[in-house]
């Protein structure tokens, strides 16, 4: 079985590298502990089929609907680009996602740094504090924020009874509430990549910086921070892109004024039943996410700037 696949593989290449083993030898498990290419493909097949049939196909169909129904046209995209409401939703989504990433970075980096410190009780405690929310449903966390932020919620009641304020503050259904809850939900995705980079950083490096005369702050700025940038970039990208498509939290905590793309898509698909327009929105969201991911990687080239083993 494997032999035949290996032969098929080697046959079309035609030119066998000088010094390379005979084609038949490719099938022998020469690299110990590694599966042959054929076997790997075979093992991947179920996942590829499932993804293709249940993920890519529907997405492509949805995207196609946006230009084919009722006939071939780009009216949906024109509508999207010309109606201020929709343009506004896109800009708001990008803005909130960006702000979420920045907030998560500011809050998450110190936590990651604390977790990466060797020994002691605090790193473990911090790790638990980061991971437990990750295991809690986003829905539950959103409702938790509602009980905190609503008109007669925990915060308003506390402030009122303390006499700090005399009328309840409007906190729920604002951009701020959405931002806060999204940052909270996505924080682990910022902390974990930064943590893993910091943890793998040799202890000797900041020590060498101290030894050579750098203060703690300068050692951090000159050595630890630049070397942790790959983690920062990964975290920011992860949080930003996840925030772009975030649905539950903005839908629950945002008001009608804080409409975000995902909520808009859902409205179009399930309430207005305008699938072609939902498809157009999805297409733009997809292109946006992909574009930002690729652009970000190209722009920073962090994997090249910082390469250490």
């Amino acid at each position: 079985m494997t032999a035949s696949i290996a032969e098929v593989e080697s046959a079309p290449s035609g030119t066998i590298q000088p010094g390379a083993a005979l084609p038949g030898a490719l099938a022998t498990p020469s690299r110990r502990g590694q599966l042959s290419a054929g076997a790997s493909l075979l093992l991947l097949a179920p996942l590829v089929l499932l993804l293709g049939w249940a993920f890519f196909l529907p997405i492509i169909r949805l995207l196609l609907t946006s230009v084919t129904r009722p006939h071939l046209n780009v009216a949906n995209y024109i509508r999207l680009a010309t109606q201020p409401l929709y343009v506004e939703v896109f800009f708001r989504t990008i803005w909130i996602s960006f702000a979420t990433a920045v907030l998560a970075l500011l809050l998450g980096y110190p936590v990651a740094a604390l977790m990466a410190r060797p020994g002691g009780k605090f790193p473990k405690l911090a790790a638990v504090c980061v991971l437990v929310p990750l295991w809690t449903s986003g829905l539950i966390r959103s409702y938790a924020w509602i009980t905190l932020l609503q008109r007669n919620g925990v915060i308003n009641n506390a402030l009122l009874s303390l006499g700090v304020i005399h009328a309840p503050l409007t906190m729920l259904y604002t951009d701020g509430a959405v931002l806060l809850a999204m940052t909270h939900t996505l924080l682990p995705f910022m902390v974990l990549p930064i943590f893993s980079v910091l943890k793998s950083l040799p202890q000797d490096l900041p020590r060498a910086a101290l030894n050579l005369g750098a203060s703690r702050a300068r050692a951090f700025l000159a050595v630890t921070l630049p070397l942790s940038l790959p983690g920062v970039a990964a975290g920011c990208l992860l949080v930003f892109v996840m925030a772009l498509g975030f649905y539950i939290t903005p839908a629950l905590l945002g008001g009608p004024r804080t409409l975000m793309i995902a909520t808009l898509i859902s409205q179009q698909a399930t309430e207005v039943l305008n699938w072609p327009f939902a498809g157009a929105l999805s297409c733009v969201l997809l292109v946006l996410s992909l574009g930002i991911t690729i652009g970000f990687k190209r722009l920073l080239r962090l994997d090249r700037v910082v390469s250490h083993d």
Partner: protein, 387 residues
């Protein structure tokens, strides 16, 4: 304790004028290195004392090795000298200044790390310039010093490379250059050659030695390699179990080990268990391995002891069976420069002797009966039971 071997004469030592002039042109001959004093340092982790009551006086310009097996506390001691760890009690002073609680960046001691600890995101030149930047040196002065340091470690063409593009030996040189570029008075080295292969190690040992002589800095060098410690150091401090076991010149440690641990750890040593039979005029006769061993040492009659003698001090006489100690040659081991022979003693214990490759002893064959002897002054006596 005698001052260490000096590679350049200290001021005050009379040297011909011309020689002094040559040295002066080569470098600033003066010993700039300052004294390092450690007083009754303790450091424990949980119930384990990593460094227990260690006191140490390192002279200015001296090359001192901290030698010991892993877990002996030598690295912990170095970390405390660098300021990365604080002692729980005791005092450390460098150049007369109490630095026990001074943070590492204010100690002005350089450190060379075992894994080099070069900054991977900076070029070689940026790495070396780092301590100068921290000291706010101007750009021109900085560049000049970096060039000088690169020259000194023979890496002039590599300024713009990244550390990852260099070999292990070259990375080690960059680490050295970075450590010496700011003219530190004390340089700490934590097994800096541990990751290099043997040939390169020996080469770098020589270079570090020459560099130190040129800089006149005090060097405290941690190693578990006794050969390295013996060849490089003015003095060696042997550590075991967190304690300083013996401090002295390489020759003193080798010839007069204070404990059987030092005797065993430095060089090769035969140990023979026995009981003191008689002591007369400073010469102890010890019943060992079916014979009698002679050791020039004071001992109590009847005491359980271990006789220690180095292979190169053992002399063999072919066919001589009237000696106090005899044996049968079991194996000849050729190892290049010397030949070792293993002798089986009457009670089955083995004794190693080193014989010259061209001596009569080298013609001995397995099975030959030999008489065994040594200069009683070259043998040592240690109480049995001590490790």
């Amino acid at each position: 304790m005698l001052p260490g071997r000096q590679f350049f004469p200290r001021s005050g030592v009379k040297t011909p004028v011309s020689a002094t002039a040559v040295i002066a042109r080569q470098s600033t001959t003066a010993i700039r290195g300052v004294a390092v004093t450690v007083e009754n340092i303790w450091r424990s982790y949980g119930a384990v004392a990593a460094v227990a009551d260690v006191s140490l006086d390192v002279q200015g310009g001296e090359f001192l090795s901290l030698l010991g097996p892993s877990g002996s506390g030598k690295t912990t001691l170095l970390m405390m000298l660098a300021g990365f760890e604080a002692p729980q009690s005791g005092r450390i002073s460098i150049g007369g200044r109490d630095v026990t609680h001074v943070p590492p960046n204010r100690r002005d001691v350089a450190m060379v790390f075992q894994r080099y600890a070069l900054f991977p995101h900076m070029s070689v030149a940026q790495n070396i310039a780092f301590p100068l930047r921290m000291r706010r040196l101007g750009r021109a002065a900085r560049d000049a010093k970096v060039r000088e340091a690169l020259d000194m470690v023979k890496l002039s063409g590599y300024a713009e490379r990244r550390p990852a593009e260099l070999s292990g030996g070259q990375q080690q040189r960059v680490a050295l250059a970075r450590a010496i570029v700011f003219d530190p008075t004390v340089i700490l080295m934590d097994e800096p050659l541990g990751a290099l292969d043997k040939k390169l190690r020996q080469h770098m040992q020589l270079e570090i030695k020459q560099l130190q002589a040129r800089l006149g800095a005090t060097v405290i060098y941690v190693t578990h390699d006794q050969e390295e410690a013996l060849t490089m150091s003015d003095r060696v401090a042997v550590m075991n179990g967190g304690r300083l076991v013996q401090l002295g010149t390489p020759r003193a440690l080798y010839d007069r080990p204070a404990t059987s641990f030092v005797a065993d750890f430095l060089g090769e040593m035969n140990f023979l268990r026995g009981r003191v039979r008689d002591v007369a005029a400073g010469l102890a006769l010890v019943d060992v391995a079916g014979g009698v061993a002679h050791v020039r040492a004071e001992a109590r009659r009847g005491a359980a002891v271990r006789v220690a003698v180095r292979p190169e001090h053992v002399t063999l006489l072919q066919g001589e069976t009237t000696r106090d100690l005899t044996g049968r040659l079991a194996q000849v081991i050729f190892n290049g420069a010397a030949t070792d022979v293993l002798i089986e003693l009457p009670d089955g214990e083995a004794l190693r002797a080193r014989v010259g490759a061209r001596s009569d002893e080298a013609s001995l064959r397995p099975g030959d009966a030999v008489g065994i002897g040594w200069d009683p002054a070259a043998a040592h006596l240690f109480p049995d039971g001590e490790t």
